[in-house]
Subunit: 366 residues, 2 copies
């Protein structure tokens, strides 16, 4: 497809950072949770090297925080996920599949226990608020559910810790992965978590006052000038190299967590009241597809994302990118397990691809 | 904002018509229900005149059909809307606000009674499927809820009836507004309804076999050549001139139907079991905002969509466009009713605007 313009309106919501993102020269957006998500500023490849070598600031406000509070909040959160949330501590983030009663994926958020009886569901791209509210109404749960006035800003890259500690103080350095601290910016306290949608290290700052968007952005760029800080966004090359999943891309509401390799994020033998538990126990070992990587030496043209073997459809290409670091064409493909049982490679478009587990292990591939 | 590219991926789903839309030279998309919606092909204004004078074919597959079937289907549909659906007949479409227990808008779909115990919710841009499934699970309803394999294609414009009757036969001409017939295309039956997101007249064809997307598209263009048929999409100029609301733009989940002038689509005194009924009855006459038009002779620059009077925020601009037909700048604004009670005009950016009811009445304005 040739380049197409995005028609922007109030429905494709802007964020408190949008004017700053625009001033920084954003060239592309996608729409995520009905909100603008910057995708690239220079080019995917130039942005990639900056992210891997230095530090970037990302407007990820589209990671909307669905706040579930009230006496039944933990009960509702546990109902929605097959991951045991009972041991979560305040300020902790848990990556967790949300699954319906058939074990199919509704979303794959970070669950954050912000306070007792107050959870934040930091969502991928589907209206979890509507599902949670439907469940709560139907079950008569004593909860309040709202999209919180929180706009995450990510600081990602090897120099992220240096930059965040300059702006929020040395305390940031001791934050462990998926843990957070309430830290001060210009007299205002906000949550800072070590997390983010890259494997280059970094933090997410949960901005809770839109009036501070500009001062915070500007301070990060001022303090980061010598670190070569740049504006960025989730980077297609980096996230595929790192094997980070994207709901809606790599999997959707027709897939279950086994198919996506999310087994370790489920506690199917725990004594928890998750609505998906029965279905997922029954599915264990019996799922039809598996998300895998297929690595090619050259770029491949797929016909409508189809992966065929002997004229038969055996897989569906969900994500693909050229890796400038490894000089490989990386694809993430939902493959039939029947085919995987007997094959470790496949030829597409005349090119031989090696089938590998995710995340990619470039020590073995290169 | 300068033009920005849309980063397209599997998450921004294509439709069976996307290759045809691309071949027709689409220049812009928006994302709607996680799906590509073409917005313009030549320019907004050129597309507008074509729509108003001739006939266009629109890929509105993004109007996803949430199919609710089973013994409790009518009960669930009625629960979700304050409009009385009990008198709907097979094949009828009903524009209906969906409201939560607080009376706030979840969506504003066309409800279609496709068959006994089989409803289609032809949705605007929010995941109604998740809300419906949450409610059904929580209440233990005996329903199946799925996104149906249906891709609507709209034929809109004054010559739409001629074109559709050439392709589907003369029976199309007798279809009344928001009624439908199952009509034949190349031996295959599909629903054709007189409806669509313009006031230029036309139909929506509910394609139920993706393999027929190309033959149907090509036949419409072949039969419509002398009618000057063009590819198009919901047109910003036309829909605002016509006062057609857009969920997410003109109103969202913070608004109630009174604020949007949807009073006639509610049956608040009926004996129906809608979850919003109590809240909406209590809100009657007490809502804070009202969606109105403000008409200017010249284009106006708003500061962050704010409408201020004497330094006080009195309104929020939701949609705006220059009308080439009327030479007016048209805005749709969610205004405080307190202000409306005492004012019929307002000055913004040094320009006087006349406040009018929606839809715009150009007989009075011009």
């Amino acid at each position: 497809m040739a380049d197409k313009l995005l028609s922007i309106s109030r429905r494709t919501r802007k964020t408190p950072f949008t004017p700053l993102v625009e001033a920084a020269g954003v060239k592309g957006y996608t729409v995520y949770n009905h909100m603008l998500l910057p995708t690239f500023f220079d080019s995917n490849e130039s942005d990639y090297w900056s992210l891997c070598q230095d530090v970037q600031v990302w407007d990820v406000s589209c990671e909307r925080q669905i706040e579930v509070s009230g006496p039944d909040s933990e009960r509702l959160i546990q109902l929605m996920t097959p991951r045991d949330i009972s041991k979560a501590v305040i300020g902790q983030g848990l990556y967790a599949p949300l699954c319906d009663e058939n074990g199919l994926l509704i979303n794959d958020p970070i669950l954050i226990k912000f306070a007792p009886d107050n959870w934040w569901v930091s969502i991928a791209d589907s209206d979890v608020r509507l599902w949670a509210r439907g469940l709560a109404f139907g079950l008569g749960l004593d909860v309040q559910i709202r999209e919180a006035a929180i706009w995450p800003l990510a600081v990602q890259g090897p120099k992220a810790e240096e930059l965040v500690s300059r702006v929020f103080g040395e305390a940031a350095r001791s934050i462990r992965f998926f843990r957070s601290k309430m830290l001060d910016f210009q007299g205002h306290s906000m949550m800072v978590m070590r997390s983010g949608y890259s494997k280059q290290g970094g933090f997410e700052i949960y901005l809770n006052d839109p009036a501070l968007a500009e001062p915070l952005w500007n301070e990060l760029f001022k303090q980061g000038a010598d670190l070569k800080v740049r504006a960025g966004g989730p980077n297609l090359i980096e996230r595929i190299e790192s094997g980070l999943l994207s709901y809606g891309n790599d999997m959707n509401f027709t897939h279950n967590p086994f198919e996506c390799g999310l087994d370790i994020y489920m506690d199917l033998d725990a004594d928890i009241d998750a609505m998906s538990l029965k279905a997922l126990r029954a599915l264990r070992g019996k799922h039809v597809h598996q998300l895998v990587g297929i690595v090619f030496d050259d770029a491949v043209e797929f016909d409508d994302f189809r992966v065929e073997a002997d004229g038969e459809l055996v897989g569906d290409v969900r994500s693909q990118v050229w890796s400038p670091r490894y000089n490989k064409f990386l694809t993430m493909v939902m493959m039939k397990r029947d085919f995987l049982a007997d094959n470790s490679s496949i030829t597409i478009d005349g090119k031989l691809g090696t089938i590998v587990d995710l995340p990619f292990d470039f020590g073995n591939i290169a």
